[in-house]
C-alpha cells in the first residue's frame, strides 16, 4: 500500500459535497438564530478559528510558541489605540494592529529562531509575561490594570457592526479567509518548504532552504493573524485588559490546536468548534473544565497525535499533487 488516498472515486466527491453543504449550513445558522448567546458563541468560534489558524502556521514549521496570547493582545491594544486616540477608521486600526504584532514577532523571531527550539518556547513564554507586565505598568497608554473600556464597535464605510449578528458576518469572513489562506499556502512552494523544515530541518537546510527564514516568515505571519484576531475581538467585546491576554489564553489556543489537529487545515476549525463552547457545558466548574482540558491534551498526544482532524482524513501526509 503506497501513499495514495484510500478515499477514491465518486463516493468521495459525493461525501465531500455533502460535508461542504453541511458546513455552509452551520455557518449560515447563526444568521437565523433567535438566541443571542448562540450567536455570541459563533462569533467567538470564528475568532478562535482565525487565531488558532495563525498558531497552526507557526507550529507547522516545528516550533511551539508559548506567547500567542500576547500577540493577540498586542494587536488588540494597537488597534484600539489607533481607533480611539488617533481616530483612525476601524479597518486601518485593524491593519495597524496586525502589522504591529507581525513586526514585533519578526524582531523577536529574528533573534531567537537561530537558537534551539527549546529556547524559542522559553523566550516566547518570558516575552508574553513581559508584554503583560508592560501593559499593566503603562496606564497612560494602556489603561493599566483597568484596561480600556468603551471601545467603539467595528465599522466599515459607515456600516457599524454593532449587533452580534452583524459582527458574526465579519468574524465569519475572517475565519474563512484564514482557513482558505492556510489551504492555499500549503500548496505553494513555500508551504512545501515549511513541511520540509518541520520534518527534517538539517536536510532542508542542506537542500538550500533557509530554516531560519522560513520559521521567521511563519512566526511573523501567524502572530500577525493573532493580532488581527485581537483587533477584531477588542471592537466586538468593547473592552480589553492585560489579563485578557495572559498565559492562560496562550495555553487555551495550544490546547485547541493540538486537540483539533496540528497537521490539517481543519485542525483549527475542529479545535475551536469543540472547545469554545465547552465552558458552557462546565458552567460553574471551571476547574473541572481545565482538568478535563489537561487530560484530553495528554490523551490526544498519546493516542491521536494528529488530533481529531486525523480521524477525518485517513490518508498519509503525502502531497502527490504539486
Amino acid at each position: 500500500m503506497n501513499g495514495a488516498t484510500l478515499w477514491a472515486g465518486n463516493l468521495d466527491s459525493v461525501r465531500r459535497r455533502i460535508a461542504y453543504l453541511a458546513l455552509i449550513a452551520i455557518c449560515a445558522a447563526p444568521f437565523f438564530l433567535a438566541n443571542a448567546f448562540y450567536v455570541h458563541l459563533a462569533v467567538l468560534i470564528c475568532l478562535n478559528v482565525a487565531i488558532v489558524g495563525g498558531l497552526a502556521l507557526i507550529c507547522r514549521t516545528g516550533q511551539l510558541p508559548l506567547g500567542h496570547g500576547a500577540f493577540i493582545g498586542l494587536g488588540a491594544y494597537a488597534a484600539v489605540t489607533a481607533t480611539m486616540r488617533a481616530h483612525w477608521p476601524f479597518w486601518l486600526g485593524a491593519v495597524g494592529g496586525t502589522l504591529f504584532a507581525a513586526l514585533l514577532a519578526a524582531l523577536l523571531g529574528w533573534v531567537i529562531l537561530r537558537l534551539r527550539g527549546v529556547y524559542f518556547v522559553l523566550v516566547t513564554f518570558a516575552f508574553a509575561e513581559l508584554v503583560r507586565l508592560v501593559m499593566l505598568d503603562w496606564p497612560s497608554l494602556t489603561g493599566g490594570a483597568n484596561g480600556i473600556a468603551g471601545i467603539p464597535p467595528a465599522a466599515l464605510f459607515g456600516f457599524e457592526f454593532d449587533t452580534k449578528v452583524r459582527f458574526y458576518a465579519l468574524a465569519l469572513v475572517l475565519a474563512v479567509t484564514v482557513i482558505v489562506f492556510l489551504h492555499v499556502f500549503f500548496t505553494t512552494p513555500t508551504g512545501h518548504a515549511v513541511d520540509a523544515v518541520a520534518e527534517n530541518p538539517a536536510l532542508a537546510e542542506a537542500s538550500g532552504l533557509s530554516v531560519h527564514r522560513i520559521q521567521l516568515l511563519a512566526f511573523s505571519i501567524g502572530s500577525g493573524i493573532a493580532g488581527l484576531g485581537g483587533a477584531l475581538y477588542a471592537h466586538y467585546v468593547g473592552f480589553v485588559s492585560p489579563e485578557s491576554f495572559n498565559t492562560a489564553l496562550s495555553v487555551a489556543m495550544i490546547v485547541m490546536l493540538v486537540i483539533g489537529g496540528r497537521q490539517s487545515v481543519w485542525g483549527p476549525v475542529i479545535g475551536a468548534l469543540v472547545l469554545t463552547p465547552l465552558p458552557e457545558l462546565f458552567r460553574g466548574a471551571v476547574q473541572t473544565q481545565h482538568v478535563f482540558y489537561g487530560a484530553a491534551l495528554i490523551l490526544i498526544l498519546r493516542f491521536l497525535p494528529g488530533g481529531l482532524a486525523s480521524l477525518l482524513a485517513r490518508r498519509s501526509v503525502d502531497r502527490a499533487s504539486y
Binding site: 533573534v111 527549546v118 518556547v121 522559553l122 513564554f125 476547574q287 481545565h290 489537561g294 498526544l301
Partner: protein, 289 residues
C-alpha cells in the same frame, strides 16, 4: 532607614530569592537533561511542596526541617509515578513532551484549586527575630532559608558526584546511548531523574512557604524565573545556573527597591535578549563553535 541597611537587606533578599531560583532551575535542568523535556508542570510541584510543608507544620505539628524532608520524599515518589504512568511515551520527544507537561500542569493546578481553594494561606515563620549582619539587619527566618537551601544543594552535589546512582544520572544527561551501552538502566533513571528534579522544586516551595504565602497560584512566578535562569546560564549547565540565579535574584531585588518592579522586569528581559544575541550558549559556556 539608611542606605547601607537598605542595600544590605536588598542583597540578602536577593540572595534568598536567588537560591529559590537556583533550586527551581537545577531541578528543571535535571529533568530536561535526562528526558529532553521542558517541564511546564515544574511550577505545580513547587506549589504542591509548599502545601505539603504547610500541612505538616500547621496540621501535623511537625518541625520544619522534617516537613521539608517529607516534602522531598513525597514529591520524589509522586514524580516517579507521574513519569512512569503519564510521561513515559514522551521521553526524548521534545515537542510533544513539552505539551504533555502543559496538560499535566493544568491538571495539577486545578486539582489543587478544587482541593484547597484559591485563597492564600499563611504559614507561621520558622524562627522569629532578627540578626545583625555587619552593617545590616536581616530577619532570621530568611537566613534559615539560605542555610537550608545551601544544605540541599550541597547534598545534591555530593549525590551527583560521589554516588553510583548520581553518576549514572549524569551519564544519561551527557549521552543516553553511551550510558545505555554501559549498562545503566534507563528505565530507572528516567523516573528517578524526574522525581529528583521535581523534588527539588517541591523543596523550594516548602522552604519559601513561611516567607511568602501558600496558594495554588504561587508556582507561576518561580517558573518564569527558572526559565530565565536556565536561558542565561545555559541549558544543562549547573554552574551557569548558579551564577545566573544569584545575579538575577540580587539585581531584581536591587532594581525593585530602587526602581519600579515594572522597570526591573523590562530590564531583565532586555538583558536576556542581549545575552541570547551575544552569548547564546549561556553565561559560562564556551561560545558556540
Amino acid at each position: 532607614m539608611d542606605l547601607t541597611t537598605l542595600v544590605g537587606q536588598s542583597v540578602v533578599n536577593g540572595l534568598v530569592v536567588g537560591l529559590l531560583y537556583l533550586l527551581m532551575a537545577v531541578g528543571f535542568t535535571l529533568v530536561f537533561g535526562v528526558m529532553r523535556v521542558v517541564n511546564f508542570a515544574h511550577s505545580e510541584f513547587y506549589m504542591l511542596g509548599a502545601f505539603v510543608a504547610y500541612y505538616c507544620v500547621t496540621q501535623l505539628d511537625l518541625p520544619f526541617l522534617s516537613s521539608v524532608a517529607i516534602t522531598f520524599v513525597l514529591a520524589l515518589a509522586f514524580g516517579w509515578m507521574v513519569e512512569w504512568l503519564i510521561l513515559k511515551p514522551f521521553r526524548h520527544d521534545e515537542l510533544n513532551g513539552m505539551i504533555a507537561t502543559i496538560g499535566l500542569a493544568m491538571i495539577l493546578q486545578n486539582l489543587a484549586l478544587m482541593a484547597f481553594g484559591p485563597d492564600p494561606l499563611s504559614m507561621p515563620s520558622v524562627v522569629q527575630g532578627v540578626v545583625h549582619l555587619g552593617f545590616t539587619v536581616v530577619p532570621a527566618s530568611r537566613l534559615y532559608v539560605v542555610a537550608f537551601s545551601i544544605a540541599v544543594l550541597a547534598l545534591l552535589y555530593v549525590f551527583l558526584r560521589y554516588t553510583r546512582t548520581g553518576r549514572a544520572l549524569r551519564a544519561v544527561v551527557q549521552d543516553v546511548e553511551i550510558a545505555a551501552a554501559q549498562g545503566i538502566c534507563a528505565q530507572l533513571i528516567y523516573p528517578l531523574g524526574f522525581g529528583i528534579g521535581v523534588g527539588l522544586a517541591a523543596v523550594a516551595g516548602a522552604l519559601m512557604a513561611p516567607l511568602f504565602s501558600v496558594s495554588p497560584f504561587i508556582g507561576a512566578g518561580p517558573l518564569l524565573k527558572a526559565f530565565i535562569v536556565v536561558i542565561l546560564g545555559g541549558l544543562g549547565s549547573i554552574p551557569g545556573a548558579a551564577l545566573a540565579s544569584l545575579l538575577l535574584g540580587i539585581s531584581e531585588s536591587l532594581a525593585g527597591t530602587f526602581l519600579s518592579t515594572g522597570a526591573a522586569d523590562i530590564l531583565v528581559f532586555a538583558f536576556l535578549i542581549v545575552m541570547l544575541v551575544v552569548r547564546p550558549s549561556g553565561l559560562l559556556a564556551r561560545p558556540e563553535q
